[in-house]
Symmetry: C2
Subunit: 223 residues, 2 copies
């Protein structure tokens, strides 16, 4: 009896390789703000903490640094990068350039089922905001975008955008820690409307709004 807790669409190997497990674990921790930006991490510390050899840890770290989620600080320390104004500017530009396009392509393919699935996620997201549950908000928000972009069937664009999220994710958490979830406007409703109408241009516009609003939040948080 394998531990089939969730219904895996892809018949994932029951036992993922250690480096993959380590990668996913660290990625989620970075993405949802369980690592403070700047807080140093050591390879050996992780091998101890995760109870796994150093080779898988090294592989996961090498991958995460390649994706921009971590950064070598020269002096033998690895950490989540601390964003400065310049970095936020670059990330804003790139997100504005790519994510609306993903929304556009998703809108052309979205079925009713897809939209209702996304609507459910968005409802959970709203609930998390009302509850003040930051972690849950971050998780659902991320899931919303990931699921939406998967509709676009654009693997390269999606991968690039995934990596962008790894760069600003930690800061999103910091911002929420400062300001709470109260005044987090939810711009997803416009996106959903555009999707169900298969209106690609409207979807792109709505997504740009969401991106701008999110990055503005981060920009304000870092001063």
């Amino acid at each position: 009896m394998t531990d089939q807790t969730t219904l895996d669409v892809v018949p994932e190997p029951a036992r993922l390789p250690a480096h993959e497990r380590v990668y996913r674990r660290l990625r989620d921790q970075i993405l949802f703000g369980e690592f403070e930006p700047g807080q140093p991490v050591t390879i050996q510390g992780l091998t101890d903490a995760l109870g796994v050899g150093m080779t898988p840890v090294r592989e996961a770290l090498r991958r995460l640094t390649a994706e921009g989620a971590l950064e070598f600080l020269g002096n033998r320390r690895i950490a989540v990068p601390v964003l400065n104004a310049q970095a936020v500017d670059e990330l804003t530009f790139t997100r504005k350039a790519l994510e609306p396009e993903l929304a556009r392509r998703a809108a052309q393919r979205a079925t009713e089922d897809d939209v209702s699935q996304l609507t459910e996620i968005d409802a959970r997201l709203d609930a998390a905001i009302r509850r003040g549950d930051v972690k849950r908000y971050l998780v659902e928000n991320h899931q919303f975008h990931v699921d939406l972009y998967s509709l676009a069937q654009a693997p390269i664009l999606t991968e690039i955008v995934d990596h962008l999220w790894l760069r600003f994710g930690p800061s999103l958490r910091v911002v929420c820690g400062q300001f709470g979830t109260r005044n987090l406007p939810d711009r997803h409703k416009d996106v959903l409307t555009a999707l169900s109408a298969n209106d690609a241009d409207a979807a792109a516009r709505a997504m740009e709004g969401d991106v701008v609003q999110g990055m503005e939040q981060i920009r304000q948080g870092l001063m």
Copy 2:
């Protein structure tokens, strides 16, 4: 007395770690078409060929796959991805979205020295085209863009674009192998003119032209 052959701004460790050496070597080989797209590579094959342990090789491969330069083929093989029309489309979109912006920012900062340096590279590039030296053409072409983008002082954008180059680099080689270097129009002159005039908009336009032309070449090559 340290071996200060070149004036290293960054005091690079005289002896690079093996995983870094392996990474750079493989990256260059991928970038300049010494690996056929689709041709499988094994970890053990590389450890034998490069005379180095498997841990550094694994790290380099993990990094390269994260950057999109390599791809796991499921059945225990790693290879340079073969681009299909869809992939070329996505790469074209992303390059058009990002590289003109880098050219724009470079134009705002380019000094006369910078321009003359780039002009030299472009001259060598032209020479390589006339000589029919494909490898050298690819190297100089890449160097031209890398040096140009480094002027933009936009580390994140630059890194993302670097990774894009890893994705289409191998196909560029294939195209040149098919059509030779004869009819490779050089759109870099417009870029250089715009740079020396510090005309950001013109630089962006010229770069878009270069991108479109290059990707069009690739698109034609894959059918």
